[in-house]
Amino acid sequence: MTERAVHESGRPVRRCRPSDLLLWLLGKRIRVRVSGDSMAPTLTDGDHVLVIPSDEAEIGDLVLCKHPYRQDIRIIKRVSDTTSDGLTLVGDNASQSTDSTSFGTVPWSRLIGRICAQM
């Protein structure tokens, strides 16, 4: 098994276990494909991840959110700060990421869940 490099700002994304697959099959996890490289090297274009639906997240978590301004788009970013107003999101690949430095704080209501495993 190859360990993917992990950005120093966050936690690693662990590999998928059989129990994760089972939970996905039971509809308890969301499976999504990463499009783009703003989360490199942690996640790169084409990677698949599983998401735990949640309305909570902590600093360092990788999260799946609805885009703050575009209803039809979901984004994967890392939480760099949390306040009562929402989440501050950044890309691990800071030089090539559009994130909260561009679109500001993302309201908690836009949070879909936390990335729990890489497939």
Binding site: M1, R15, C16, R17, P18, L21, R31, V32, R33, V34, S35, G36, D37, S38, M39, L43, D45, H48, L64, H67, R70, I73, R74, I75, I76, K77, G91, N93, A94, S95, Q96, S97, T98, T101, S102, M119
Partner: protein, 157 residues
Amino acid sequence: MLETALKILNQKLPADSAEAHCDGPCGVYDPASARIAAEAGLSMTKKILALAPPEGNDGAAWAAYLNTVSRYVAIKEEQTHIAKEELLVLWTDYFKPHHLEAYPDLHDIFWKAAKLCSYVKVEVNLAHAEEMMETIEKIHNIFWATKGREVAYYTAS
């Protein structure tokens, strides 16, 4: 075993995507869009300055002259505004705080470029139009340096 199964699953049944795009889900940044619009502003400034009013009171000649000037002015207004908008998007959406550390005068350059677009829009001033293009060339050089690429600056005209 699990790894192989996951690999096949991901290949045969890709999931819906979530965006982690390098430059956001909207697409691509390139100062060329600002440069092209600004060039139109420079070109219209030159054309307005080169346009001589007709002699005498020939109504048709004056109508043609006023029509041409109006068109040049309208295009100058429109394109320099587009150039300013393109620069502001680049400034506020692409550039990040760590770019500012590498280029401490970044804000000044963009502020100056945007102001020059405004000057060219409201004036007929060749010096300001040329200065606008020089400032956009600086932005071009900084932008591509942040990308780690060597992209030569050029103009269409």
